[in-house]
Amino acid sequence: MSVAPAPLRRDPAHGWIAGVFAGLGERLRIDPLILRVGFMVVVVATGGLALVGYVVAWAALPATEDKPAPLARFARVPRVRGDWRVALGVGLLTLSCLLAFRQLGIWWSDAVVWPLVVAAFGVALLWRRARSSAEDEVPGPATTERPPAASGEIASPEGGAPSSPVGDLYRGVFGVLLVIGAGLLFLLSNDVFGGIRDAALTTVVVVVALALILAPFLWRLAHNLASERAERIRSQERAELAAHLHDSVLQTLVLMQTRADDPREVAALARRQERELRDWLAGDGRRSAEGRFAAALRHSAEEIEDDHRVAIDVVVVGDCDFDERSEAVLGAAREALVNAAKHAGEAGLIRVYAEVDDDGIELFVRDRGPGFDPATTPADRQGVRESIIGRMERVGGTAEIRTAPEGGTEVGLTVRQPGAEREGGAS
């Protein structure tokens, strides 16, 4: 039967001091007493230096009863939080820098050493605290419920953060005291309290100390304001999107349910909503320029779609500005569309195709309706035809109505630009 070797541990229960050799002996299956005697020999031989090794072993080895090693425990003690360790590190770093300067001969007075180290420690503590509180706020949902007024109390500890409010406040106060103490220490060691000539120095030291104390709070205030503004912009955009969807898509969907028995109405509603949503999604990038022919034609088609509950598909190649010719084409196209919507709207999609180039405009309106015989056209349709044909002829164009029994009706409108007035801008 083989037993997996247990990891090396201390055994305080059977040890003399911290149980290092008791644990080691058990692991190596040697009597701890032999190890202890051997170690004492080594200690004497090295002039006591080997004792350091014992201390390291104590710190690094976990005890048997499932407790972490003292070193690991120290690092995990909640009170020895990151801020303290960082502050301690900054203080030690400052001290070592100062010592290095002194060694190099760049030196002015021994009196600055302790004030600077203490001040560095205090400032590091304050800054760490400001930073970690600000970072604690990043998770959204919990903090958004907080009333906005709370953001004003920047100096007060935040509730709900992982660090306890009391500890937070304690660290803050401690940091402030450290910085002030450092200032006083500096003044004392320079022996300036009695001398008026050093009043200026006193003021400078106090101001510097105050600035060091307040800086993290000011920084945090600015940081909070910025993140709050970003959050506000985000929620504003969300609200805008929600409002748009609510006003448009949601309303239409509800309306479509109530009109479910009227397919044509439902189709018209859906089509209109689709058009609006497309426009909204595209912004103003895709649509052709307002105030020009193509946009006006699309707009007319949309109006007729809404008025007559029909579907119109518009394809435009090229574009041009308005003049009397393009206006005439647009007016005639409108008439033709209304006509098609009235008489052929049930028969499916009405198609508009317009081609605009330097030579002129060609436009076709095609429906899939029953068609009609021009010879037997009733008087009212004759009138519409007049308003199409007559309008085109007045600007020197033509209108042609082509109809076939099974192929529906197509109105073709053509107008040519006079050769002299060629327009280069249209594409």
Partner: protein, 215 residues
Amino acid sequence: MVARPTVVIVDDHELFRAGVRAELEQLVDVRGAAGTVEKAVAAIVDQKPDVVLLDVHMPGGGGVEVIRQVAERRPAQRFLALSVSDAAEDVIAIIRAGARGYVTKSISGSELAEAIERVRDGDAVFSPRLAGFVLDAFHGEITEGEVDPELDQLTPREREVLRLIARGYLYKEIAARLSISPKTVEAHVGAVLRKLQLSTRHELSRWAVERRLVD
């Protein structure tokens, strides 16, 4: 009677997939449906359908990516693109990637089945909007530097055919109107498709480059 075409539907929108399937069930032989690029490629290679109905917008590269990956293993696979979008850059991207047609999702079931058959037979399918777009792209004079007149320009007849498509004419109506056979109409449209895919015309390559569709 010719057998019904076999089809694989590729669309990340499940509701739409189910809808198309239900509508096409009687008209074509739906062999499978997939919602991601990966599954689509696997299904197409596995089922070897006559035609793939391909959504343009899908996560993971969209229809263009599906065509690219399938082309490595089934270069002759035919695709018909289907989209809610009618933006020029979408059309140009998918056609230049190799789709043989482009229709919008508002198309009716019978029209779609007809388009599938046409793609199966190796013909191109142009919606009126696509025809309008091609006319727009090939519109105007060729500027210097665009080298291949064979590819960069439409013949007057092709232009005429496209114009009639844009006006909403069916192929047989176009044939009757121009007094040519429907096969000739199809040949013209096929030639336009080839030009659309191969032309280096400024208007066509510009979209592709702007959208980083080509290297």
